[in-house]
Symmetry: C2
Subunit: 244 residues, 2 copies
């Protein structure tokens, strides 16, 4: 058994945000596995097999990656952003749990620039103080838990980075999120809508939460709600370092 399994993050979109570590892993790979739009970011070449797959088949995809690596392939599982943040790394370890025969496989996780960091950088420094990251999709957890976390995050005065805020199949969750944060007294906080960060489609918008509308977000949007001290300077939004 001389195969390897690497779980790599491609960053938010711009090639210049892919780490050299990840580029080297892609160059050494025999097989690339992942959600089709991410696999399509890896240029084809002789000796490299691309295995694009659909959304929501993370566990099957992880199992395939383990099988190929166990058979001697050099497999890279690609995610956008960082593979450990709402992405493929957890799915691979979940699949590994059911496959003790592969526990000694050489596995590496290669970090990347996750969407909230690129979004924050484009807007200024809204994550410069304590913050949290919440996936607003309720595919894998009950909506009640998301609501509970939003309320506690507001009470803790964390800046809140929201992944997967809104999709065609879940149009109502983000509307409810804005209601909850308004009820929790966050109406005057600044909210950043960062769409398609680091790509040619990038669009950054910042409004007060009470003026935010659900339609301002879609699946390509990363939303950052500032903390109570977050403010504007010129065209930038940032969280002051000092809190009294």
């Amino acid at each position: 058994m001389s195969g390897t399994l690497t779980i790599a993050g491609l960053g938010p979109g711009d090639e210049a945000l892919i780490t050299p570590e990840v580029s080297a892993a892609l160059a050494a790979a025999t097989d690339i596995i992942g959600y089709a739009p991410y696999v399509s970011r890896v240029p084809p070449r002789a000796g490299l097999t691309l295995h694009p797959s659909d959304n929501r088949v993370e566990l099957q995809r992880a199992g395939e990656a383990l099988r190929l690596a166990a058979a001697g392939h050099h497999v890279v599982v690609v995610s956008s952003g960082d593979p450990g943040v709402f992405a493929m790394a957890s799915a691979v370890f979940e699949a590994l749990e059911d496959a003790p025969q592969w526990h000694e496989l050489p596995i590496r996780v290669l970090p990347g620039v996750t969407a909230m960091l690129a979004a924050a950088a484009s807007a200024g420094a809204p994550l410069g103080h304590d913050f949290c990251a919440i996936n607003l999709s309720d595919n894998l957890k009950p909506w009640s838990l998301i609501e509970k976390r939003l309320r506690l995050a507001a009470e803790a005065d964390f800046a809140i980075a929201m992944y997967n805020p809104r999709s065609a199949s879940r149009p109502e969750g983000f509307a409810r999120t804005l209601e909850i944060l308004n009820e929790a007294g966050c109406g005057k906080r600044i909210v950043i809508f960062a769409r398609a960060v680091s790509t040619s489609d990038q669009r950054i918008e910042a409004v007060e939460l009470c003026d935010a509308r659900p339609e301002m977000a879609d699946m390509r949007t990363l939303v950052i709600v500032g903390n109570s001290a977050t403010r504007r300077v010129g065209r930038w939004v940032y969280a002051p370092r000092q809190v009294r």
Copy 2:
């Protein structure tokens, strides 16, 4: 005025984790400004002036960067990790607030791989579900706010990434942190101590929180407390994607 100000993240230590975007900015710079250990990561060359400074002079350093950029220099302010996470970006915007004459300076923030992402990748995928990031230093905020956030984060069942857990001048805060989390019922959660991540000194240790001792952390350690579902598979620690 043709100067520029770039605020860049050098990643956690390994050269292979510096994005090409940041490398290009360093190559085009006339001046590098930052905390001395980070400035020393930039190789000297003709035409490049290095401005290393001490810890805890972030605002003065930010002011110097703005002045040099306004005078026509191409300044890169360097942080380790990501510049927007407990690093220099907020300090630069704070300095900018007092200097309206420089609001139109061309400023860019270039994201990087922040320590918690590299730490998580080394350990597995402990940030694969909702999480928060808390700076345990009380230099710039009251300790009572840190305690409040720790309790609310435990109640929200976030994984908790802790920056600056412990220094020679603040030995007691992290001991208190462990007490608070034990009191909050987190004793059986897995805690990861990730020291000097991505460097040759890297050391990763994972124990149950009730067995964690304050001495396991120092200023080069990033601590990640798993959520209640975080578990081990082989030598890895990960947060399952699904929560019921």
